[in-house]
């Protein structure tokens, strides 16, 4: 960042100089006998551009328009710069320009605004010399001190694997099954100077360490744990393993957390896994049906038993009478609704008109 500011400053300075000299250099170019000479064609034969002015004076050496000697160029330029350059207080303006440029340089490269979430790592001639906290920090100017701003609060996320059906991140579990895992790692920078100086490619390192740690941990659990209840524990253990490795590298990185976004069986065997949950549902429905039957049956038995008990209590009080009463009542109900034939004389063979009965039954059905 500091480098960038410095460049900006110097660029601005140059621009200022160029604009300041614009008019003058324009005048210089208008002279067709410029310091670089009049060209191979010479000025006599070639067409004159309409806006060029005739030369103010001719020097003895420039006869024929071929001014090529460096000496003459220097003399001429000295004339121009020393003589015709406007000055204030006896000093040329460009010196002031240089002064302003240096001042801007100092300001831009000595003061550093460090955001609340940042830390500024100072290197003095390459060697680490300190860290700036949030606020305005002051260092020596640019070529000596350089400040690299590092965002230490921001929690960054690295995603490994994706939840898309198209791509699978297959991992072997401890029981030699395969799962498709997608997870993300959240991390931030705990120690900015270690982060900057210790590891060549920190993001790549985190990614590789995460992958390696995840595989090592998943290799220690069973498939059922990995796709089910064991997820939380896996996340925690991966975080621990990662942190230990990154600490071993002295990377200055803190792993904030690992989140498993998806942990499914591979698409090829997903149907079989669905079958298991279907079977679980089915088994549960068997059990539910049986429970319903049991409830119904018990209730019926209790109801009938209770009814019998009531009647029995009545019967006990007057057994003979109750018995007859029940008999007659029942017979009434039964015989009042059926066709009755009473055969009084013994020896009469009753004729049972079966077709007649059938006809009657059909008539009733119709």
């Amino acid at each position: 960042m500091a480098l960038f500011f410095r460049k900006g400053g110097s660029y601005k300075g140059h621009m200022k100089k160029i604009f300041g000299w614009g008019a003058r250099s324009g005048a210089m170019m208008n002279e067709n006998k410029g310091p670089w000479g009049g060209g191979s064609g010479g000025d006599d034969g070639g067409p004159r551009s309409p806006w060029s002015q005739p030369p103010r004076k001719r020097r003895p050496g420039s006869v024929g328009g071929n001014v090529t000697s460096l000496d003459d160029f220097l003399k001429k330029s000295r004339d121009r710069f020393g003589g015709s350059f406007p000055t204030g207080n006896g000093r040329p303006y460009w010196l002031y320009g240089l002064g302003i440029f240096l001042l801007l340089w100092l300001i831009f490269t000595s003061f550093h605004r460090i955001g609340p979430q940042q830390a500024g790592v100072i290197t003095r001639l390459g060697s680490f010399s300190g860290t700036l906290g949030p606020g305005i920090g002051f260092t020596l100017p640019a070529p000596i001190d350089r400040v690299q701003k590092v965002d230490v609060q921001e929690i960054r996320t690295i995603d490994i694997g994706s939840t898309d059906a198209s791509s699978e991140n297959l991992i072997l579990t401890g029981d030699q099954n395969i799962i498709d895992l997608a997870y993300s790692v959240r991390w931030n920078i705990a120690d900015p100077e270690l982060y900057l100086f210790q590891i060549k490619d920190p993001e790549q390192t985190i990614r590789e360490v995460a992958e390696s740690a995840m595989r090592a941990v998943v290799a220690g659990v069973s498939l059922d744990d990995a796709i089910g209840a064991g997820r939380g524990e896996i996340e925690q253990r991966v975080q621990q393993v990662m942190q230990r490795l990154l600490n071993d590298y002295r990377s200055g990185i803190r792993v904030q957390g690992v989140a498993i976004k998806q942990s499914d069986p591979p698409a090829a065997v997903n149907d079989a896994f669905k079958e298991v949950s279907a079977a679980q549902q089915e088994a549960q429905s068997y059990i539910n049906q049986a429970r319903a039957y049991a409830l119904q049956l018990t209730a019926k038995a209790q109801g009938e038993a209770a009814a019998f008990d009531k009647v029995y209590a009545q019967y006990k009080q007057a057994p003979e009478v109750t018995r007859r009463r029940m008999y007659y009542e029942t017979m009434e109900r039964v015989l009042s609704k059926v066709d009755k034939t009473i055969v009084e004389t013994p020896g009469v063979t009753p004729y049972l008109a079966l077709p007649e009965i059938q006809k009657r039954a059909e008539g009733a059905a119709r």
Partner: protein, 287 residues
């Protein structure tokens, strides 16, 4: 001074450029992330900012250095932890299972001089280490069954590989910090398919056993209910079996002969009674 500059700006500019060139070839800034080998006429002369374990930043050799212009040149060597990524390797375990293994090693140049002599650049060190990492991995994994890769034994295996690799790395002035397996997968095709098939059949087996367990439990529940109902009936009816017989018979007659309002069409009954029937006892008049 200013007067001179004003009077003679071109000459001063040349002088400034000259000073800059001399300064540029004399001084060099060694950052914290680099080690510098100063080479004098092609011969390594001294090492700046060499890696020392545990040296805190700011107290390393980083900083401004002076060298003799045009005689000495600076050769930069990375001081940070670098990585070697291995190409995917197919490894055959002792139980003849194939595995696609992807591993990486992290290393650091600890002896820049040796590294400069033997390899010159970090890329070449990586290039040299890569095949050795591959063969060390194959050797180590090839001596173990597949299951060992998925067990705590894995740590021991990694240590062996790291040691093997370290022996070679020393020749290049490098030190292996860590070797890890990034991925270990079954190769595409038959091995993966058969693993899938195994998973599928295992699941189907589980599904069946779940169903069987379910129906077993259902049956037990039904039987329990039957037993309980029978018990309830026995308790109630056992008090007077004779009356139960009568009571139940009455219910039964009614259910059999009377359309008991259930709405179902029943066969119509015709009853032929003998006058001797008990119901008709009084029909004859008392004698």
């Amino acid at each position: 001074m200013i007067g001179q500059v004003v009077r003679n700006p071109i000459a001063m500019a040349f002088a400034a450029i000259f000073v800059l060139i001399v300064a540029g070839t004399t001084f060099a800034v060694v950052p914290e992330t680099q080690q510098a080998v100063i080479v004098r006429f092609g011969e390594p002369n001294r090492i700046i900012n060499r890696y020392r374990e545990g040296a805190p930043f700011g107290e390393t050799g980083a900083g401004l250095i002076v060298r003799i212009p045009f005689m000495e040149e600076v050769h930069w060597i990375d001081k940070r932890i670098l990585s070697v990524d291995m190409d995917r390797q197919q490894v055959l375990s002792t139980d003849q299972l194939r595995l696609q293994v992807d591993a990486f090693a992290r290393y650091r140049i600890v002896d820049p001089l040796r590294m400069y002599i033997s390899a010159r650049t970090e890329e070449r060190v990586s290039d040299q280490l890569r095949p050795i990492l591959g063969s060390a991995l194959r050797n180590e994994l090839g001596r173990r069954p597949f299951a060992a890769l998925l067990s705590p034994e894995r740590g021991q295996m990694m240590d062996n590989i790291q040691n093997a690799l370290n022996r070679v790395a020393k020749q290049y002035g490098a030190e292996i910090v860590d070797v890890r397996i990034k991925r270990a997968d079954l190769p595409e095709g038959t091995p993966l398919q058969s693993a899938y098939q195994r998973m599928q059949t295992a699941r189907q087996q589980e599904a069946r056993s779940i169903r069987a367990q379910g129906s077993k439990q259902a049956q037990i529940i039904r039987a329990d209910a039957d037993a309980e109902a029978a018990n309830t009936y026995a308790e109630a009816f056992g008090k007077d079996p004779d009356f139960y017989d009568f009571y139940r018979a009455m219910q039964s007659y009614e259910a059999t002969f009377v359309n008991n309002g259930s709405g179902e069409e029943q066969g119509r009954s015709s009853i032929i009674l003998s006058p001797d029937n008990d119901y008709l006892r009084e029909f004859r008049g008392r004698r």
